[in-house]
C-alpha cells in the first residue's frame, strides 16, 4: 500500500493526516500529477481515488480502531465534506497560482465558510462535538484542511467562532500532524 502524494496539495494532506490520526503506516511517493488529480492510493494491486473513498478504505484496515467507522447515515456528511474540500482546493489553487494578488475574500469563499460555520455551530448546540458524532471521523478529517488552509485565502477567523473551536479541538487529537501553511500550535 502506498500513497501517490503531492505534499502541498490539501486533499493529499487530508489523507496523510487521516492515516496519522488512525495510526496507519502509509508510505508515500511524490507524484506531481496528484496536484491535479488529488491523492491516489495504490492498494491490493489497484488504485483508489478521491480523499473520502481513500480515508474510508483506511478506516477498514485491521489496525484501525472501530471508533473511526462510519455511524449509520453518516455517508452524507462525508460526501458533503468531500465536496467542500474539492471547492476549497480549487479556490486555493487559483489563489496561489494567481499572478496578481486578489482583492479581498472572494464571495464563493464566504459562502463555503458560512455553510461550514452553520453546520458546526448547530452541531455544537446539539452536543455533537464532531461532524461525525461523538468521535471524529472521515468527514472531520476532510473538513480540517479546508478550515485550516482557508488562511491562504485570507479568511479572517474572528468571523467564524465555531470553526475556530473545531480547529482547536482537532489540533489536540493524538496523531495530529501539520502541513506547510498550518501552524503547529495555536
Amino acid at each position: 500500500m502506498r500513497l501517490r502524494d503531492w505534499a502541498l496539495d490539501d486533499r493529499c494532506y487530508a489523507v496523510r493526516l487521516g492515516a496519522s490520526l488512525m495510526g496507519v503506516h502509509l508510505p508515500t511517493i511524490t507524484d506531481a500529477a496528484a496536484l491535479e488529480t488529488g491523492p491516489v492510493l495504490e492498494i491490493d494491486g489497484g488504485c483508489l481515488r478521491g480523499p473520502a473513498d481513500i480515508l474510508q478504505r483506511l478506516t477498514s484496515l485491521p489496525e484501525v480502531s472501530r471508533d473511526w467507522h462510519l455511524g449509520i447515515g453518516e455517508e452524507r456528511r462525508d460526501a458533503w465534506a468531500e465536496s467542500a474540500l474539492e471547492q476549497l482546493s480549487h479556490l486555493r489553487r487559483a489563489a496561489l497560482l494567481a499572478a496578481l494578488p486578489t482583492d479581498g475574500v472572494p464571495p464563493s469563499v464566504f459562502r463555503l465558510m458560512t455553510e461550514i460555520e452553520d453546520r458546526l455551530s448547530d452541531d455544537r448546540l446539539c452536543d455533537r462535538p464532531w461532524l461525525s458524532g461523538r468521535h471524529p471521523g472521515v468527514a472531520d478529517i476532510l473538513l480540517f484542511p479546508i478550515v485550516a488552509l482557508s488562511q491562504d485565502l485570507e479568511v479572517p477567523l474572528d468571523l467564524y467562532p465555531a470553526i475556530r473551536n473545531f480547529i482547536r479541538q482537532f489540533k489536540a487529537l493524538p496523531g495530529f500532524m501539520t502541513m506547510p501553511g498550518v501552524p503547529e500550535c495555536h
Binding site: F110, T114, E117, D118, S121, D122, L125, C126, P156, L157, D158, L159, Y160, P161, R164, N165, R168, P183, C185, H186
Partner: protein, 203 residues
Amino acid sequence: MTDWFPLALGMDVPSETAAPARLYGKEIALWRGADGQVHAWEDRCPHRGMRLSFGFVRNGNLACLYHGWQFGADATCRHIPAHPELRVPGTIHAHAYRAEERAGIIWVSLNEDASLDELPDEDAFGARSILVQAPLASVRVALALPEEGWKWQEDCLVAAHEPEPGLTMLHMASATLANRLDIAARAKTTRDHLEALNEKVPA
C-alpha cells in the same frame, strides 16, 4: 454613542484559550485564564508585534507564539524565555482594554471610564455569533437596535458590532438554556433576511 462593544460570546472564548476579534478593523486579542476571567488586549505583542491571539495560555499568563514572552492578567510581561533570570521591567506590557462579561457576551470598551450601567444585567446564555454581510448601520436600522447597540427581543438578547466596514457580527443570547437552538435558528433567518435587504440597496 455607547462605550461598550459586544465582541464575542463568552462560550466562544473557552477557559485557557485566546481568540481574535476586530472592531472597525482594530485587532483585539480576547483570552480567558483558568480562573474564568476574560481579558481584551491590543492584538500585538510588544516584543515584535506578533498577534497575541495566536498565543496560548500557560500558568495564568498569555504566552506569545513567537518567542514565548508571557504576560500576566494585568498585561505586564512576567517572563522572557530567552532570559529566564531576568526580572522583567514593569514598563514592558501589552496594551489592555476593559473587558466585561454580561449576559453570555464579552463586552469591550476602549474607554477606561466607561460606565457598566450601559450593559445588560440579566443572565443569558450565548446561542450564536453570526456573520452578516451588511454594514452595521443598516443592520441597526433593520433591527431597530437602540443607541446602546443591544436590546432584548422577547427571550433573546441581540447585540452587534462591526469587525470591518461592511461586515457585522450579530451576537444572540437566550434567556433560557433550553431555547438556544431556537435562537440560533432565528439568527440564521435574521442573517439571510438582512443580507437579502442589503443586496437590494443600490451601491
